[in-house]
């Protein structure tokens, strides 16, 4: 990796100002991509440009030499490493901008586009961009899961529903080799990779909300236990909850995404999870708002706040407001002879502070959300984004943990996605139905139900952290929001909130700072 001179690159932005005083290197453009097997050092702190500003990556344990490091080394047959899909510059996730840039540079030869899951289906002509359209356009990887699902111990599961393919634009679910009727029946759904950072907030069990350090909020069954440790696990790691620990997730990812033969070795597993447990990412600079961290700045911004913060606490109270106070950015003084740059910065900060308040306090009727309203909360439930589903201090996931059918996957709420497979789920007559859709459900992705076999879980996926958003568009599990404005518009439409244009922009600016 080539380090970009801080002065030569960073000074291109007149607004950078205080960032110049910092010692972190700044990477931009193609140089910010970390290729598998690329020898180098991931510094204790480094910054990466994105479309709205800069993200900082913080290694709490110090510099990470990457040569031979299991996270950065291709361990399987397709040339990918973990870092391929969890790029530091993309907040340890992967943006569609980066994906498209890789295609422009290397086409299908880049391991990112490996046929196994980087193509819409492995049987398609791999040199054609159209065969990778879901990855190139929406940042979606193929997730292939056994059908019917099995219990965690590999035993047969009593599945409450049948599933049929209504439309199959990728061809994979009806393919005789890869589909539901194949020798190893498999269902293919398409999902965004989740950021591998700020992990302590994802793995720590909830604090201060007994008995939910041991119980799943929804049905008051016990949380699953990690077979290796015998300890309860949080289920916050993956959208469908199937990777119940970092080690479990790493093994699954090595087998499916890296196509490793055999298993990860113990030293490899240890190295991967040690790395994941110490890396923090967050936005630290905004092209309009200037520097976001430091004295007199909102205390929840930046990776240092995440490194130092207390994990797995509820933040939905008027002191924490999930991400801490932004009040110092409200009603900022106007400088005498204010320059355009100063005005732009002041207005952005004031907007972000208002957005924080909208996020935390502006309530709306949350209704008909499967696996959410029906977990005792009532339908409807009058809450804000922060006091409702995004309640974890500094991170914004649902501490519950929050599998829910927001309407991203299931009709009638889902955006019309002719690029995704459409399934018809028919639940058994004696199954508890999906609470607001009943026993016949059309869905692009059955979500959690592909792991539990439960009708009421159809379409439910786990809320995810809201940090480093600016670095990793598009958003939602299926990439349906190309940018933060589309994300806000989805909520506004789904819940008939009636945000004003100002509120929408304020929310976007607020989320840009996270």
């Amino acid at each position: 990796m080539r380090k970009i001179s801080l002065v030569s690159k960073a000074s291109g932005s007149l607004l950078l100002g205080p960032a110049l005083a910092l010692a972190q290197p700044l990477y931009s453009g193609d140089e910010s991509w970390w290729s598998p097997e690329q020898a180098g050092t991931l510094l204790p702190q480094s910054r990466y440009e994105n479309s709205t500003g800069q993200l900082e990556v913080l290694n709490a344990t110090g510099a990470i030499p990457t040569a031979g490091h299991a996270f950065f080394t291709p361990l399987g047959s397709n040339g990918r490493a973990c870092v391929t899909c969890h790029q530091p510059s993309n907040g340890m996730g992967l943006s569609v901008d980066s994906i498209q840039r890789r295609w422009e540079l290397h086409g299908a030869d880049d391991p990112l586009f490996a046929a196994i899951d980087g193509a819409n289906c492995p049987n398609l002509p791999q040199q054609d961009a159209s065969s990778h359209s879901l990855l190139l356009e929406k940042g979606l990887f193929r997730i292939f899961l056994p059908w019917p699902p099995k219990n965690l111990d590999g035993s047969a599961m009593d599945v409450e529903f049948s599933i049929e393919v209504v439309s199959d634009p990728t061809g994979c679910n009806t393919n005789p080799q890869y589909g539901l009727e194949s020798e190893n029946p498999t269902i293919s759904v398409y999902r965004r990779p989740r950021p591998v950072a700020n992990i302590k907030y994802l793995t720590e069990l909830p604090h201060g909300v007994p008995p939910h350090e041991a119980f799943f909020y929804n049905d008051k069954s016990l949380l699953p236990k990690d077979p290796e440790t015998g300890e309860f696990v949080s289920m916050q790691l993956m959208s469908d909850g199937r990777g119940i620990s970092l080690r479990n997730q790493a093994r699954d990812a090595a087998r499916t995404h890296l196509q490793i033969s055999g298993e990860l070795t113990e030293p490899e597993l240890q190295q991967i999870t040690d790395f994941e447990n110490q890396i923090y990412v967050a936005q630290v600079y905004d092209n309009q708002g200037g520097t976001l961290v430091g004295e007199d700045m909102p205390p929840g911004i930046g990776p240092q706040a995440l490194r130092d913060g207390a994990p797995a606490r509820l933040g939905n109270n008027p002191i924490n407001k999930i991400f801490g106070s932004f009040a110092m950015w409200l009603n900022l003084p106007i400088a005498e002879e204010e320059t355009d740059g100063q005005r732009q910065q002041r207005e952005f900060r004031e907007s972000a502070a208002r957005g924080a308040e909208v996020f935390y306090a502006r309530r709306f009727l949350i209704s008909d959300v499967g696996a959410y309203n029906d977990k005792g909360l009532g339908n409807p439930f009058n809450r804000s984004c922060g006091s409702g589903c995004h309640n974890t201090l500094l991170m914004g996931m649902d501490l519950a943990p929050g599998f829910m059918d927001l309407g991203l996957n299931n009709f009638p709420w889902a955006n019309n996605r002719s690029d995704l497979p459409l399934f018809k789920v028919t639940c058994d007559a004696d199954a508890v139905p999906q609470s607001y859709l009943g026993r016949t459900i059309h869905t692009n992705d059955p979500g959690r139900a592909l792991i539990t076999g439960k009708c009421r879980d159809v379409g439910a996926t786990m809320t995810q952290q809201l940090r480093g958003l600016a670095a990793r568009a598009p958003y939602f599990v299926n990439g349906s929001a190309a940018n933060l404005r589309e994300l806000v518009d989805f909520y506004d439409r789904r819940f008939n909130i009636g945000y004003t244009e100002q509120e929408k922009q304020d929310l976007v600016n607020f989320m840009r700072t996270l």
Binding site: A305, M328, L365, S435, Y436, L437
Partner: protein, 279 residues
Amino acid sequence: MMRLLPYIVIFSVVFSISAQDRSEHAPGTHLAFTACPIARSTGPDTDVCFLAEYQGVRYVLNNPPDWGKPELGHQVLVEAQIVEGALQCGALPLQGRVSVLAELDSNCNQILPFDGSVVGQAGGIFNSGTPQQRKEALELARRAEQDPSLSVQPANPETPPPEPPAAPFQPQRLIIYFPFNSDRGSGPDMLEVVKLVQYANAARAPISIVSYQGETLLSSGDRVTERTSIAQQRGEKMQDILQGLGLTAEITLRWVDQPLSGDGVADWRNRRVELVVEL
């Protein structure tokens, strides 16, 4: 005038009830009925409340914490006793249980907009908990205004672990009641289960589980019965929970398939699991 509005509306509701036959709605009367819940907005910053109408009278739908609030899109089974007290949610107060029925009912879709007649009570750390906790929350808020770094420190206090059980040990009995056709206990109930396991482990005593399913005699004279497998499901789930929480001693499980017959008086008590620490 605005301050008087709630009282005027409350008066009008009471008046409309008094115009009917009050005998069926007198305090102490047991009711059991199914109905669509009605959601009522109580203001932009407070929770909705729920009510239901039965024989032309509106009753508020309340449950113990985390037992499950009503849901539009579903009917509810109300099993409760009319009690003395002020109107809640613009409706007569009840004491008992409200179960959300699993099947969809698209007719259950009524939301009463906020009209000022019923104003919700703000929740949150400034308005709930012990007086000491409220005082501490207000003090923390005051300090956080001066020092914003406090706003990213957890404001919700950690719950201290309970005192470990100590001898002499006595037999213990815990009864958990369930919504209709459901095996979901509430959070407070599960806290009691956690304590019971700690007690049994300290006493090195086994726990017996007996689970039941129930029937409800509706006020109309009809009967509704839970599905046949639910007693077993409740019992096995409780067994899994006890084991998962680390109960070291033996568990005995028995379930009763024959539903306990309802008599129209608090039939929600039929849907239960009994846990006994045997000494």
